[in-house]
Symmetry: C2
Subunit: 80 residues, 2 copies
């Protein structure tokens, strides 16, 4: 079995109101020097077969088709 | 400036309906052998000061106070 972690983040320049809200909340909690905060998503996926090359190809296809919106998001796939 | 990535994931045993929905959707898209899928959150945080030890302590406090619900979630802090 292969375990993979997919991280989906907003592209630079795409507004992230959720991140901005967290940024302000951290300031309000007294954390000084907090710069930009951006929020993304992480998916931990288990794949039944043991073929690493196929797993990587499958994971990329999953990101393109379902997990990420490639117009505004980047993704990174990591086999763990 | 220090850049950090915080990954917040659900603890084992905590139900993840969003992950389950993704699991089924991937099956429906024709990806075979997809096992468990769990969804989590990622935060990319920029800290203005350059003190790595203070940054790590701050980030842990941020997770405990705001970014993660430690009753049901684990977090991992990584300085990048």
């Amino acid at each position: 079995m292969i375990k993979a972690r997919v991280i989906v983040t907003l592209k630079n320049g795409v507004l992230d109101p959720q991140g901005k809200a967290i940024e302000h909340a951290l300031g309000g909690l007294g954390f000084d020097g907090v710069g930009q905060v951006r929020q993304g998503k992480v998916f931990d996926v288990e794949l039944g077969h043991g073929d690493k090359a196929k797993a990587e190809a499958d994971l990329k296809a999953m990101c393109d088709k379902l997990l990420a919106n490639t117009v505004i998001e980047n993704y990174a796939v990591e086999i763990v």
